[in-house]
């Protein structure tokens, strides 16, 4: 069997390793971001596979070039390129995608962060045939796992990728064993597509219940790395364009005072802020101007606000 592998980083590298470990399989091409010096490129070169620009897969012109490689399967892992339908028609057996999310409810990007924000208790990864419509193809397999209260955007991303890579490797093993892959059509009435731009607003909506505020904050937490979408922010103070970023928030045992966004007293780890359901969250790990806020920093910050009130998403003019 001839395989073409498309994707980036660890997921694509792992799929490549799975395929190259089988004597009856041959990797005839790897499509990736050629500008990035990644392990995948070294592995591809070691396997004797040609390297190609992944972006070309979005164009019909790539179909002719792909046809010359005579692939049976195209395996896509962790690539955001939407593959052109003419390209999808080339592999004789089909094209598979590793989607780090549950389908059909979580199509698109940053879906693990949305699952936390939506208050879900479980998440997962899906292996599916690639259809011309984004993340809409027949499902081969789904792996599910619980979302823990301690999960952040980063930790859930890790679990999604690990589970997805294992599922893709299992599908490849089945292909190599000559098994026919299951194909379950998605019920597209449940389909929801999350776009990158939908996930960029970092302002906290203080009218949400405390639980939802906590989830919003932890979903955006990729510490110590930069989140691919947002990190929760407090209001930018007067005369200072830098908005403090919040990495951790916990629902407080005691309720808050005042309305949504009212700033309460400083507790053990940070300030309390009242949420829309009348209960408070206690913020922790607030980073402002490049360093973690102390209580004195917080007092300075509050003195720059028009009132002891965080307007968050209700703030106008930002």
């Amino acid at each position: 069997l001839n395989f073409v592998i498309a994707g980036e980083g660890f997921p694509a590298a792992k799929v490549l390793e799975t395929v190259t470990a089988a004597p009856e399989a041959r990797v005839v091409g790897v499509f990736t971001d050629l500008s990035q010096p990644r392990r995948l490129k070294s592995l591809a070169e070691a396997a004797g596979a040609g390297l190609y620009d992944a972006r070309s897969l979005a164009t019909p012109a790539a179909a002719d070039m792909l046809a010359r490689l005579e692939p049976d399967w195209l395996l896509n892992a962790n690539s955001t390129v939407v593959i052109d339908r003419a390209v999808l028609a080339v592999p004789s057996a089909g094209c598979l995608n590793l989607h780090p999310g549950l389908l059909p409810r979580y199509a698109g990007l940053h879906t693990h962060q949305w699952a936390i924000r939506n208050g879900d208790s479980e998440f997962g990864a899906t292996i599916h045939f690639i259809a011309p419509e984004l993340d809409a193809g027949d499902v081969v397999s789904t792996v599910r796992f619980p979302i823990k209260p301690s999960d952040t955007g980063l930790s859930l991303f890790q679990r999604c990728i690990d589970a997805g890579v294992s599922a893709m490797s299992a599908a490849v093993q089945d292909l190599l064993a000559g098994k026919e892959l299951p194909r379950t059509p998605q019920d597209l009435s449940y389909r929801r597509i999350y776009r990158h731009r939908d996930a960029l607003d970092a302002r906290i909506d203080w009218t949400m219940p405390a639980r939802a505020v906590v989830d919003f904050v932890r979903a955006g937490n990729y510490e110590p790395f930069q989140s691919p979408s947002y990190t929760a922010e407090l209001d930018a103070p007067r005369g200072d364009s830098s908005a403090p970023k919040v990495l951790v928030a916990a629902a407080a045992a005691a309720g808050g005072g005042g309305g949504a966004g009212a700033i309460g007293e400083w507790r053990d780890t940070g300030p309390a802020v009242t949420c829309g359901d009348g209960t408070a969250v206690v913020l922790a790990k607030i980073v402002w101007n490049g360093r973690k806020m102390t209580r004195d920093d917080w007092d300075s910050y509050c003195s720059l606000l028009p009132a002891r009130l965080l307007r968050g998403k209700a703030e106008r003019g930002r």
């Binding site: 660890f10 792992k14 010096p37 990644r38 392990r39 930790s155 890790q158 990728i161 890579v165 930069q226």
Partner: protein, 88 residues
């Protein structure tokens, strides 16, 4: 056989070389107090990939929801997690 600290440091250094596209010999020797993130050795994808590679090789899976990832920036902390040895 559990991997020892020196072996894990070698794996980390080899991984960073591959991930960054730099020749292994161009990297400095890694001390256990090296901050992998501060030096720009890894991004989030590289970090997750490194955890998987070390998990595969040592048989010790590490779930980021159980630890503070920022602590793992220090090589010695990362090594102790995968070697089972106490942090130095």
């Amino acid at each position: 056989v559990p991997a020892d600290s020196a072996q894990i440091v070698r794996w980390v250094r080899e991984f960073v070389a591959q991930h960054s596209g730099k020749p292994l010999e161009s990297l400095p020797e890694y001390a256990l107090d090296r901050d992998l993130f501060e030096h720009g050795d890894l991004d989030s994808f590289g970090f997750v990939e490194l955890l998987s590679v070390l998990g595969d090789r040592t048989g010790r899976a590490l779930d980021l929801s159980d630890v503070d990832p920022a602590e793992l920036a220090v090589l010695g902390n990362l090594v102790s997690r995968f070697s089972g040895e106490a942090p130095r």
